[in-house]
Subunit: 285 residues, 2 copies
Amino acid sequence: MIGRVALIGMGMIGGSLAAALRQHKLCEEITAYDVDRKALIKAFDLKLIDNSAVSPCEAVRQADVVVLAVPVGATEEICCSMRDCLPEQAVLTDVGSVKEDVVKAVERGLGFLPSGFVPGHPIAGKELSGIEAASEDLFFGRRVILTPTSETSPESLALIRQMWEGVGAVVEEMAIEYHDEVLAATSHLPHLLAFALVESLAKMGGSEDIFRYAAGGFRDFTRIASSDPTMWRDICLSNRNAILEVLNRFEDDLHQLSQAIAKGDAALLLDTFRHAKQTRDYFCH
Amino acid sequence: MIGRVALIGMGMIGGSLAAALRQHKLCEEITAYDVDRKALIKAFDLKLIDNSAVSPCEAVRQADVVVLAVPVGATEEICCSMRDCLPEQAVLTDVGSVKEDVVKAVERGLGFLPSGFVPGHPIAGKELSGIEAASEDLFFGRRVILTPTSETSPESLALIRQMWEGVGAVVEEMAIEYHDEVLAATSHLPHLLAFALVESLAKMGGSEDIFRYAAGGFRDFTRIASSDPTMWRDICLSNRNAILEVLNRFEDDLHQLSQAIAKGDAALLLDTFRHAKQTRDYFCH
């Protein structure tokens, strides 16, 4: 049982965590801050939180656990503004899709890297965003990756693991850099491709028809292009190097395929599609 | 009510059409041919067909309606082998994802373009393939695009429209070339990107972990990479020009995004993601 939790950010993730902490009776009190007052009012009306705060500073000053659930680009400013209010013994965690940049932002914002900071990432995205999309079972059965820093204390790590396991998640630990590489490939690159495809088609003539005749495959394929733009801008900038590495490789591979089509290289096309199908069927059945 | 239907190809589409024709009592008798004898046996065991044939020629010789449900690359050979058996008054249609190339293949195979030929395309794909994936309600509420040629007779067109409407589909007519352009953008390009992404990640080091940590977004995004490789090789080759046009545009757009990430152009990234999200939310809600 955690005492007081401060949630910074009442979007889909922050709201879902509040709901899940409540449902599983994992803490005594939840205080929340969000830059958007409406999200706080909604969270209060939904009885997801006990108190709202007008600033990150007010939210965290009596907290035992602080959870940052904001677009990663907002991390430094938030940390800066709670610098003088964060209790020394408080455990701090976040939910960002990028870890190296968040660790640096926390260090810059707070002026040091606290032993109570446990970087985290629940892999529980949806294309929806905002408190309206929050649900108490969002994390059930989902993976949460924790990437302790060189400073993270074992006690803090254990507490955050306990919190996520308490809401039904499967917790794993991973090195910061490795997390960012793996996520660049499995999450950041697909999101970029989905955004790029929709944008590319929207610019074509007759795009009304193009979208009208889109089948189920297209809908699924582009679902993640309905994700929050600010969050994804921040991710692209924060995980720039890892994303560019996988993106450049992908561009090369796609261009090879393009050339195979131009040359009518049936064998290469069939081999590529076969191997991709085998791989996908093996991993995602 | 159609009399005798010949189905050439007992894959997911052919099998589903047999089941749907049966369910809606739209014909008296179904005869089927497939290059894979096992698919025919299965269709017979499932009572989807009345008769099996050892060749396309045998299948069609007493048919009122012939439906080609094979990978588009097999069209010419199939038509060639039923050239001397196809009854003069029979109405012929197909289900291929590419239309211009199929029309040419039918003309080459049969030696002329019959007035009874109605090119068609049910937009009812799944990533599954084979008779095992057949279902009688596959076409219910789905669009079927018919692209009559200059030779197609109004009576043949009306009959095929009636058949598809009879199994619950929404039928539209479209010019051949326009169909191929629209489908290149909404279906062929997304499939190519999904195959290319899975293949690109599979070639990276640590691909086991990469796929292991893939979230729901990745699964949805790559679902279509589990589609039938032969069918997609054929589509890429048959609709080469239209595909290359959208693919080349996409490559340019993606490269611009890549450069925006490299330069840290936050404004361009946000604009692109916002516009893509708006477009997608508008068309696919």
